[in-house]
Chain length 230, copies 2
């Protein structure tokens, strides 16, 4: 067992690209491609070839000069590095629009993240079936987390309940959280939190659109919009 494997710290930027490489490699593997060059991988991934090589070099020297990378082997190495050699069951808090969509989306299970549970505070929702998953009470959270060995929680509640959901997840023993609510969650520093905020994404696009238009003309003094939070 090579001990340097764990010691090596992979830059965040690289970690966020490894899943992309992994998906592309999987597609190529399905197409019967055995070997792939960093150039081709870069083209398919929409990035720089040098970046691909540097990213992959953090995993080790798994390429063959003059040839490229063996697809199957590289897939295995990336999976191992990302910890995808086994499943990571997730629990979803919030059975609203988003929670239902996430439960119904089969892509999670297929990619190694089966939905171990879907919980909600609303008693009227408990027991209903959503995308093949039965909604359970949020009080069952600790039991679900422990019995199913869940370490990743997904917050899909309205903004107002997000912090409570996070607190309950942490109390139940979850150590990573994917947050869809537009709020900054306050959690212990040992907990890993990632945020997906659709409004932020749209507003970034809005910035570029506005910039595109405002290229030459002066900004029109528009009326300020209503400033409601939620």
């Amino acid at each position: 067992m090579a001990p340097d494997r764990n010691r090596r710290r992979i830059p965040d930027a690289t970690v966020s690209r490894l899943p992309v490489y992994l998906r592309i490699l999987g597609e190529q593997h399905d197409l019967g491609v055995d070997s792939i060059s960093s150039d081709r991988l870069a083209e398919l991934g929409g990035v720089n070839a040098a970046k691909v090589r540097k990213d992959l070099s953090y995993l080790g020297s798994y390429g063959t000069r003059g040839v490229g990378y063996e697809v199957a082997y590289l897939i295995f190495q990336i999976q191992r590095e990302l910890g995808l050699t086994h499943d990571w069951p997730v629990v979803i808090v919030g059975a609203g629009n988003l929670g239902q969509a996430l439960s119904g989306y089969g892509g999670f299970g297929a990619r190694g993240f089966p939905v171990a549970g879907l919980v909600d505070v609303d008693a009227s929702k408990v027991g209903t079936l959503v995308g093949g998953v039965r909604v359970r009470s949020i009080d069952e959270l600790p039991q679900i987390v422990q019995s199913k060995r869940v370490s990743i929680g997904i917050v899909a509640t309205p903004t107002a309940s997000a912090q409570d959901a996070a607190d309950r997840l942490v109390a139940a023993g979850v150590t990573s959280i994917l947050n869809f609510a537009p709020t900054v969650l306050s959690v212990p520093p040992s907990i890993e939190v990632r945020k997906v905020d659709l409004a932020v994404e749209l507003q970034i696009l809005s910035y570029h659109e506005q910039r595109r238009i405002a290229g030459g003309a002066a900004t029109t003094a528009a009326r300020p919009r209503a400033v409601s939070a939620s």
Copy 2:
């Protein structure tokens, strides 16, 4: 009128944080807070105070030394910079799980991104009502985009159809795309694309979980742990 306002390029990292500040400022405004310091704003936003000040300084010198920032005025300035002084209607391609959830989520319209249309290739879905929005044929895309002045498109299709959806959006005249499909879209360079990939987010969390486990043994020699039987 200051002409440098349009010329000034705001760093990407700052642009991605402005929406966060904006949301917090809106909340504070609703709470009756008139003035806020960079320190407080940083605390609520989970970032560094110096970063807040530097970010806001790109907009101009809108703060008052010794006091802080006037909440209402700062909201207006950020909105103006982000182009949020008017609505940006969006069109959603794909009426599956995700497309339906997005349409049903009222938060978009409330934040200035009303759903101008929801289209799908599947003729059997056309005409059905989803979250108050009627599903229309994808052939109507050009008409929707032009009549409603849509410049932002959302790709919520399965992976296989995502490129086609993007092509149609671009052909219809959309200039920004928010892509939920796990694929690299190939579009003309003038088109702004942002990607939201849930699987990637989960895999990043997986990496840290895996690292957490593997790290306990012989890895982090940096921090001395309690010396027990090795």
